[in-house]
């Protein structure tokens, strides 16, 4: 087993990996950019090393700087988390060349599954059903136009590289296509350095259902059942759960087998996710392989009892899978809510700034994978994810109630977050019924605003006034309050000499 692992990431995922390392008796190394000196991941690692300026290109995306940090700290392996370099085959290739273990699939498999078009070709050849779409990526608006007419509107526009919904757009008619393709290409260029896009048939009311995979370097692979990730805004997941309310044992088995086949034909190892769209008739279409730990991996962990980060590390160190498909089962229900610094009232615009105060929810069945703290500054440079709140319970009903309670007990003051919005999704009758599909939010919650009635407003005013009143009293008796012994006034007999 490794003695030291460098985590080439930041935020909640870096912390989550570091905690796993510690439990496994492995030392962890944090890398950080200059503005991240006070970030939580720096304080969670055993060791920390600065790798450059705030801009991701100069730090978290800077392959040379990260390789240098690995060498300097003597780490034997790199865990890339998600985002940043996690799916960058050039980084994996470089690690391979330098004799560093990249905790993920090898660069060849990474290159294949990272290219959506190439990936489609390989899987289609094996008889796996895909969504009807373009055969090749494109940067030509006119080509896109003629392909879209062949497929038939509405079509879905995607960036060829990357994931996470960046650059994704539904285009309803010929008239909208040109602007959409241009914007998509701009975003793809900025985000991934590759402007290529492609188009496919847009399926209405689909569910996003994905299968978690673990595959070792010895030819063994298992799936850890599904996650449903249909609740999305801006084509990006915000609520995920396992099991899916749409799957029965038979469909689950069939989809699991398909997922394992995709992994097999891709030559894929370590932890990965095979994504499908599922329509209302139980037809499912292969979308893509996510060649990394997913943001939403905790719901699988809670339901299957397998720690996926431990598994990733053990597999990367060469271990054979220590369980088989038959050993795995789902127990109870888990839901994850992604907490973002964003404004749900303004089209989920990212928000940033200082968290003046926050308090994490706690309790039985509540897990909070958190990357921030009271007093920290949420930077504009990075992904606005703050944390992930996960609840588990034996039934979906209690799991939802537990989540709603936890979201209500989760004050984050000073920046905008989606917490109230998430709460209102969780308690929505259609969500409780399990009627989840990828356009749930525009359909069920258009123009969402938090409800604040007069009585709640008055209670808030009372709270504000008590606070102001206290601040006032403290000003008067500065440093004398028993309740708040002021550190501002306790020097005295401490300072000796100078």
């Amino acid at each position: 087993m490794f003695k030291k692992i460098l985590i080439a990431n930041r935020g909640e995922i870096a912390i989550r990996v570091m905690k796993a390392c510690r439990e496994m008796g492995i030392e962890s190394v944090a890398v950080y950019s200059t503005i991240d000196r006070d970030a939580l991941h720096v304080r969670t690692a055993d060791e920390a090393i600065c790798i450059g300026e705030a801009s991701p290109n100069e730090s978290y995306l800077n392959i040379d700087a990260i390789i240098k940090a690995v060498k300097e700290t003597g780490a034997e392996a790199v865990h890339p988390g998600y985002g940043f370099l996690a799916e960058n085959y050039l980084f994996a290739q470089r690690c391979e060349k330098e004799g560093i273990v990249f905790i993920g699939p090898d660069s060849k498999a990474l290159k294949l599954v990272g290219d959506k078009v190439a990936s489609r070709e390989v899987t289609e050849k094996e008889g796996i059903t895909l969504i009807p779409g373009m055969k090749d990526k494109s940067t030509d608006v006119n080509e896109c136009l003629s392909e879209a007419e062949k497929i038939g509107f509405p079509v879905l526009l995607k960036a060829s590289a990357g994931g996470g919904g960046k650059g994704m757009r539904v285009v309803n008619s010929k008239g909208e296509l040109k602007d959409a393709v241009e914007a998509g290409m701009r975003e793809a260029q900025t985000a991934f350095g590759d402007p290529s896009v492609y188009l496919e048939k847009y399926i209405e009311k689909p569910r996003h259902v994905e299968f978690q995979i673990l595959a070792d370097n010895h030819g063994n692979a298992v799936h850890l059942f599904e996650r449903e990730c249909s609740i999305q805004r801006r084509h990006q997941k915000i609520i995920e759960e396992s099991p899916s309310t749409a799957l029965d044992d038979d469909l689950r088995r069939k989809m699991g087998e398909t997922a394992l086949k995709v992994v097999e034909v891709s030559g894929y190892t370590n932890a990965g996710t095979v994504e499908f769209l599922l329509d209302e008739n139980g037809n499912y279409y292969f979308l893509e392989v996510n060649a990394r730990l997913q943001v939403e991996h905790p719901v699988t962990e809670m339901v299957c009892g397998i720690d996926l980060v431990h598994a990733q590390i053990r597999i990367a160190s060469g271990e054979k899978l220590w369980f088989s498909q038959g050993d795995l089962s789902q127990r109870g229900h888990a839901i994850e809510c992604r907490v973002y610094a964003e404004d749900p009232e303004s089209n989920f615009l990212p928000s940033a700034g200082k968290i003046l105060y926050m308090k994490e929810p706690t309790g039985p069945g509540i897990r909070h994978d958190c990357g921030v703290y009271s007093g920290c500054v949420v930077s504009v440079y990075y992904d606005p994810i703050l944390s992930k709140l996960i609840t588990w319970a034996l039934t979906r009903e209690i799991c939802c109630r537990r989540m709603a309670a936890a979201l209500s007990d989760f004050p984050v003051l000073g920046i905008k977050t989606d917490i109230e919005f998430l709460h209102d999704v969780i308690v929505h009758p259609e969500f409780l019924k399990g009627n989840t599909f990828t356009n749930f939010i525009p359909v069920n919650m258009p123009d969402w605003k938090p409800v604040v009635d007069d009585e709640m407003l008055n209670r808030s005013l009372l709270s504000a006034a008590i606070y102001s009143d206290n601040v006032g009293k403290r000003t008067v008796v500065s440093g004398k309050s028993e309740e708040f012994p002021s550190p501002w006034s306790t020097l005295g007999d401490w300072e000796i000499g100078k």
Partner: protein, 170 residues
């Protein structure tokens, strides 16, 4: 003590009177409240109002007070504080005739021009921040009075990107 807060464009006056044992009387408009309150930490209060428990979390920034209660966050503006950092369409401190961004970012595309008539909800400008393109839509119908930035410009929060002349009263 009297305190003044504004929310959603309205101003509220709270008269509050606390005794040394944590008992309080307060008046908001013509409504009277009697309760006990206790200071759990700098930012956390326990309020018992007719036996009902209210957990309140309060924090303060330069221009406002944030209150978390029963799962909702309400931001009150301090009288006299500016709009800095809280402009933008839809923002609670937004003024509907000045379009700004709540985030530092890069202007990717200015969609409208001076003199254009726009409808409420129409896209005005695309700003990229945190790696996402964000369409900023018009909060109101009206006419574009001025466009203060061009494609590629960097923009700071609260800076007015586009100024509108709303066609109808608020």
């Amino acid at each position: 003590m009297d305190f003044e807060y504004s929310y959603d464009g309205k101003t509220f006056l709270v008269k509050i009177d606390g005794d040394s044992s944590g008992g309080y009387k307060a008046v908001i408009a013509d409504k009277e409240y009697e309760f006990t309150a206790s200071n759990i930490s700098l930012n956390e209060f326990s309020i018992l109002l007719n036996r009902k428990n209210m957990k309140a979390y309060v924090a303060e920034s330069d221009d406002g007070v944030f209150v978390h209660i029963e799962g909702r966050v309400i931001k009150f503006k301090k009288p006299g504080a500016g709009n800095g950092g809280f402009g933008g369409a839809g923002g609670e401190f937004g003024v509907k005739d000045e379009i700004s961004t709540p985030m530092p970012g890069k202007v990717v595309k200015i969609i409208v021009s001076e003199g254009d008539r726009v409808e409420a909800g129409q896209s005005l400008v695309i700003v990229e921040s945190m790696k996402m393109e964000n369409e900023i839509k018009s909060p109101t119908a009206g006419e574009v009075v001025s466009v203060n930035f061009k494609n590629g410009d960097l923009v700071e929060p609260g800076q007015t990107i586009i100024k509108l002349n709303p066609s109808d009263a608020d």
